[in-house]
Amino acid sequence: MTDLLTPVLSANWADDRPWRINNYERRGGYDALRKALDMQPDDVIALVKDANLRGRGGAGFPTGMKWSFVPKDNPNPKYLVVNADESEPGTCKDIPLMMASPHTLVEGIIIASHAIGVSHAFIYVRGEVLHVARRLQQAVREAYSAGYLGRNILGKGLDLELTVHSGAGAYICGEETALLDSLEGRRGQPRLRPPFPAVAGLYASPTVVNNVESIASVPSIVANGKEWFQSMGTEKSKGFTLYSLSGHVKKPGQFEAPMGITLRELIDLGGGMRDGHKLKFWTPGGSSTPLLTAEHMDMPLDYEATAAAGSMLGTKALQCFDETTSVVRSTLRFVEFYKHESCGKCTPCREGTWWLVQILMRIERGEGVEGDIEKLLDLSENIGGRSFCALADGAVATVTSAIKHFRSEFEAGYTTPAWELFPYEKSALFEAKPLAAASEHAGAQQKVGTH
């Protein structure tokens, strides 16, 4: 039986300046790289595949399998792009990882590049986290100086360039093909697939796009072996992972645990819900994963159980809302996010999210009209699955799951403003007065979008 928490990626976060290369090396950092460079590339791929590391960016696709899809006979250069565009609402695991221990990621990138046959890798980090950009840039400079990057790495013949690339504020660039367009200096809009990036990705060359946490998990697997990795987790969801607890809990934070810990266990570790309040609803993996309620608190947080409950593990971003929270309000705010972040390429998403917001706004004001709920569901059906990428699916998941679990709150919005049913100041973490312009507030949210 493994311990409740198993820090691996986060094990050095409380060290003195863990972001510096000498402190990372003192803990055995870059030993896994030495070991990997003595292995055949295919053996590294097989190890990661056999360990059953699944992508930690949300979709859960097996990382080693993704690597093995890169065609060996393609004459173009191969690229590795790390998706560090962490922007899914609720998701806050990669940012602390890169802030505290950027070398864990850099070491993983070098090992993965050796495995896939990459000579130029990129870290696409969202632009809105300045200090993370600094820590990454410095880590890469240090790795070059130490001979872990550049020509003939550690005398083993591997050549690798690594470029840190800061984005400019667009959630959609977390979608891997939009990310590639953005990295090519274009508007970040998803591409039609096939061809998949493994065949025609960056500059139409074979490309692997992996999440930060996925790549950062590789050095420990190389160092400790697949059996070690598989000794943690549930039957089909193996290993350790970062769970991010946020919202109305006493102590939110990052918890690195074997796959399959429950929300109840995590909330207990976080000291419980804030005093005098109880959990009303939560998301297992960011706002794009259908919300769940208190009845799902004992469900193992792994890929299979969350799917069986009608949701997804996603990014393991556990946003917890207590009974003061209006579901209509939270749904509106989530959908406003998707409307703002829709890239505008596909009509169902571009127009549909706009209409969802209009209807949710009038329900929030207590001015919903008979049939609005049906209209929301009908719109959702015509948005989800009818666009190039999964942004649209995420946008409607939040609506349909909220209506499924809390339909009566939406019905109440035909007659009563949400802020009367759930005074907004009660949800704030500090003593607060009612919002001055609650009734105009929803209108004020509207931002100048990208289209």
Binding site: W13, G225, E227, P252, F337, A436, Q445
Partner: protein, 246 residues
């Protein structure tokens, strides 16, 4: 339909009538340096636009031209990219950029109250700059600091666990030029200097600030207290040669 209104009136493009610029040949050379980081130079467009903002305080017409010339694209293509991403400013921004997270979780935990308070205190609305030019206030989308909600960003540095009162003190200090340090980052410089770092130019502040705030370290600290850790690879029941004993 009477409740609906158009939001397109404020979505104007880059003001090309104002052609003021501080860009010099030195910056042109820096754009070339950025381009050299990539196999294809167009990839340098995003960081190059950050560099333009660090000099001109917005995406200037001259900046678009310079990027286009150096990266082998048309100004229309550069403009199309610049207007797609929210971090690029079409009009001149203030010395400091203050972003209040307004996505659901932060908004509900108090972000809406913080924005309302700041907006009233500063006398500006969303995406507007104070008369003295010290602060541009903006609602921002989820900034990946949800375990520190409500979050405010200053020049894209974290200010965690904010309240309306602490937010007022923050903007007052910024306006007065008092030293301000991020909860989990460096001392605040200016939005333009931050933009230069995002273009990939070091400002020597990497070692400032902690590894993480209390929420980042919570799980690690509980594990240390309880003696919880990942299994010992040498002690696995079915250990084989893959497991490196330590």
């Amino acid at each position: 339909m009477s409740g609906f209104k158009s939001y397109f009136e404020k979505s104007g493009g880059i003001d090309v009538a104002d052609d003021a610029t501080n860009l010099t040949d030195e910056h042109r050379e820096e754009i070339r340096q950025i381009a050299a980081r990539y196999p294809q130079k167009r990839s340098a467009l995003l960081p190059a636009l950050h560099l333009v903002q660090s000099v001109d305080g917005r995406v200037s017409p001259k900046g678009l031209e310079m990027c286009a010339e150096e990266l082998g694209i048309t100004t229309a293509e550069a403009n199309g990219v610049a207007t797609f991403y929210t971090m690029y400013k079409r009009k001149k921004a203030g010395k400091h950029h203050v972003g209040v997270c307004s996505t659901a979780l932060c908004a509900i935990m108090g972000g809406d109250h913080i924005f309302e308070t700041l907006s009233e205190h500063l006398g500006v609305g969303n995406d507007e700059t104070t008369e003295d030019g010290s602060v541009t206030l903006e609602r921002v989308e989820c900034n990946a600091g949800c375990d520190y909600a409500p979050v405010v960003m200053v020049n894209w540095e974290f200010f965690d666990n904010m309240t309306p009162d602490s937010a007022i003190r923050l903007v007052d200090d910024l306006a007065a030029g008092n030293p301000v340090t991020s909860t989990r980052g460096a001392e605040i410089t200016s939005w333009r200097e931050a933009e230069r770092v995002l273009a990939g130019f070091d400002d020597g502040r990497t070692d400032e600030g902690p590894a993480g705030g209390p929420a980042s370290l919570l799980g690690v600290e509980i594990a240390a207290e309880k003696g919880w850790k990942a299994p010992d690879p040498a002690a696995l029941p079915a250990n084989d040669t893959e497991g490196e004993s330590k």
